[in-house]
């Protein structure tokens, strides 16, 4: 088993703490079958380092893992990582998690670009992402009131500490997904075909049972000819239902 990156510096009062969903992504990316798929896709003669983008990085544990184990997962010692999060505290925490994980692996020559504060992948250059990862807010719960975002996205004026209300709001952003837990995911799915590299791009997204994953996969397959969506990792079986699953989205030449 590959080691989990350290997140001991992260304050989990306002940044999502790595949980079962994060670990399922780590296990899936490093599974024998996914490593084989990714090696086949990226270790070919092409030498340009793959760009790995994670949206909603939180603590940064998933992106740090992908960067630190790049050789094993992608067949490239050097990948470029780029992250986004709507929570500016998460951006800073994740940048440190990724930096630390890369430095701890001596042969690793991955480059951590930055973790930018933004909405999903709206600021990412189209057609540039080779590997996309998204662990969305998937809980069917009312979305927080974004009107407060500007005030809550940084330290209050002249203060050194966040408030309790602020922390609750920031954590809500990390899990509340609106109707069926799919409101944020649906917005993200719209951006995926645009940001992925048309040739080798592949996306990994996490879904829970309440997200109606079979319907989601079917919708993706109907985007246009060639699009594929398959479950490649799952955990927490309950009465025959997978509680969480990772879906791989990619395009095959039509």
């Amino acid at each position: 088993m590959l080691p989990t990156p350290s997140t001991s510096h992260v304050c989990f009062d306002r940044v999502y703490e790595p949980a079962e969903d994060s670990f399922l992504l780590l296990d899936t990316l490093s599974s024998t079958s996914e490593a084989a798929f990714l090696l086949e896709r990226f270790a070919k003669a092409q030498s340009a380092p793959p760009l790995v983008l994670e949206v909603g990085v939180g603590s940064g544990v998933v992106l740090a893992f992908a960067a630190a184990n790049a050789g094993r997962i992608f067949g490239h010692q050097d990948v470029l990582t780029l992250g986004t999060d709507i929570n500016s505290f998460a951006c800073k925490a994740a940048a440190q998690t990724i930096r630390t994980a890369i430095t701890e692996h001596e042969q690793n020559t991955s480059i951590s670009l930055d973790v930018v504060n933004g909405d999903l992948a709206s600021c990412i250059l189209p057609n540039s992402v080779d590997v996309f990862i998204f662990n969305p807010p998937y809980v069917p719960a009312e979305l927080p009131d974004f009107a407060r975002h500007g005030d809550y996205n940084g330290l209050p004026d002249g203060q050194k500490k966040t408030t309790f209300e602020q922390d609750s709001y920031l954590l809500e952003l990390s899990y509340a997904g609106g109707e069926d837990g799919m409101v944020v995911m649906n917005r993200m799915l719209e951006q995926i075909p645009e940001i992925l590299d048309a040739g080798r791009g592949v996306a990994y997204v996490l879904l829970c049972a309440q997200n109606k994953p079979e319907e989601v996969k079917q919708r993706i397959r109907e985007w246009s000819p060639g699009w594929r969506a398959e479950t490649v990792g799952s955990s927490g079986k309950q009465a025959g239902w997978e509680k969480l699953q990772v879906v791989r989205i990619w395009k095959e030449e039509a």
Partner: protein, 141 residues
Amino acid sequence: MKLLTLNFLTCAIKACKSSPASFPLHPRDVELEIVESDINLPFLKNILPRLMWAELRTIAAELGLPELPETAPTRDHLVEGKEEAKEGEEVDEVPSQTARDLHRVLLETTVKEGKLVCGNCAHEYKVMEGVPNFLLPGHLV
């Protein structure tokens, strides 16, 4: 924020994406900080095909950095003495001045504070403590 990151970012406003003027974003009123790191020659060689060279030159010029060559360097340009070496001759891989300059621009030169401006809609994105903020009021309704 590293300058190499600008190679992958564009204006967050949807209507700007189809306009070539929305890339690259233009740094303005910036405070730069040099964050030194070990030079990584294999990485520099491999990243060459991904660099948007003309845009990178524009950014470097706008920041008042030393001018980048008109055309992108080749892999051989990055290794000291490689161009002069005879066919098949082994050269110890020592980074050339070109490689060191490229490393400095792409990975060591960072934007600490300032703004990134879209060339199409003129929207300004703030960079604070090295983190650019691409949130738009429209995202938050």
